[in-house]
Symmetry: C2
Subunit: 210 residues, 2 copies
């Protein structure tokens, strides 16, 4: 389905069919969308963590996510986590990759490397995390779009306690911060939210010419 | 074009063709994508401000955006701005709209209204702005996706000084904060970035099973 009609049709599923599974081909679409999303300086400072162990999903649901059923009932459950320590090495790796993919000498990209380092390292650590989390949100928007087009149900979820999710998954030692939860699956036929008309502001309320 | 190939093809245009114009039908696709983007509690706390006056675009380019040519050379130029003061009235208006669209008594949505107010009003003002800006970034991701599918060139731009853009456009009195700049148009045939292979991490570098 083309994107605008698909966006009209999609909704944030509240009740999943636990028996309905997402195929690996469907998962690949979402991962590829996430990977292709544009990010500031192309640094892609996030990881999509797929939580597979049912007991861990149950633990997140009850201890960190206000008992929302999507955490355990969707086919797949992810934590989109931002990198807490984007540093000079991160930037150097990104430049290494660019030189390799483009087949150019690394030295030709060193001006750009300095520019990126100048910006990123001027941010205080908490600002750097806010910056990384914003990039994760761009990728979330692209992932939601790809899911809508492919007819895959997803629920982005901000209702959770990041410190608790980080503790459950040991994210601090991985230098990651849980940013948004994403349930992916097939909605239940009796999800009452499936039948509600979509509520959105008018174009005039969100677009102005100045 | 379907979304994954379109995302592979798109790139952040650096050099636009100033003579090539975006049609109103193309603009409508972008606005509709922005409008349909999912946001936390469906509050859509952002405005897409279309800056039309050439002198104002020039002013932003030279004074606030490091002289990046996209600001003045793209067919259209926008500031995506987040609301700085999402408050109880904002939430009440959102509930009014939901009741109207769904054709239900407002009283049936008051439990949800309390829940949203409880969350939003518990955030300090600066945290509330960070939250609103994250929602703008989801919408940016959806807008970029819709542009890619429709073959419209866009450049999301974080390289600017928000305080200066806010001052130039008088955003503070509108209780808005410039969050990301978006140039929209048709790339120039001699934009050297058009021909560079896309650089991205591998799936394995951004997706892990834990």
């Amino acid at each position: 389905m083309s994107l605008i009609p698909a966006l009209k049709k999609r909704y944030a599923v509240k009740k999943y069919n636990p028996a309905a599974k997402i195929s690996s081909a469907q998962l690949d679409i979402l991962l590829e969308a996430l990977r292709l999303a544009p990010t500031s300086f192309n640094l892609q400072p996030f990881h999509l963590l797929q939580v597979t162990e049912p007991a861990v999903r149950e633990h997140i649901r009850t201890e960190a996510a206000f008992n929302q059923p999507q955490v355990t009932e969707a086919s797949l459950f992810f934590v989109l986590a931002a990198e807490t320590d984007v540093d000079e090495q991160t930037i150097a790796h990104s430049i290494d990759l660019a030189a390799e993919v483009r087949g150019v000498a690394r030295s030709t990209l060193e001006g750009r490397e300095s520019q990126i380092k100048g910006f990123i390292m001027s941010l205080a650590p908490e600002q750097r995390l806010i910056w990384a989390q914003r990039q994760a949100y761009i990728a979330l928007g692209v992932l939601v779009s790809a899911a809508a087009e492919a007819g895959i149900d997803v629920s982005p979820m901000e209702g959770f306690v990041p410190n608790k999710v980080d503790a459950i998954l040991g994210l601090q030692t991985k230098r990651l911060r849980s940013t948004v939860l994403v349930a992916v699956g097939v909605h239940s036929n009796d999800d009452e939210h499936a039948h509600l008309p979509k509520v959105r502001k008018s174009i005039e309320q969100i677009h102005q010419t100045i």
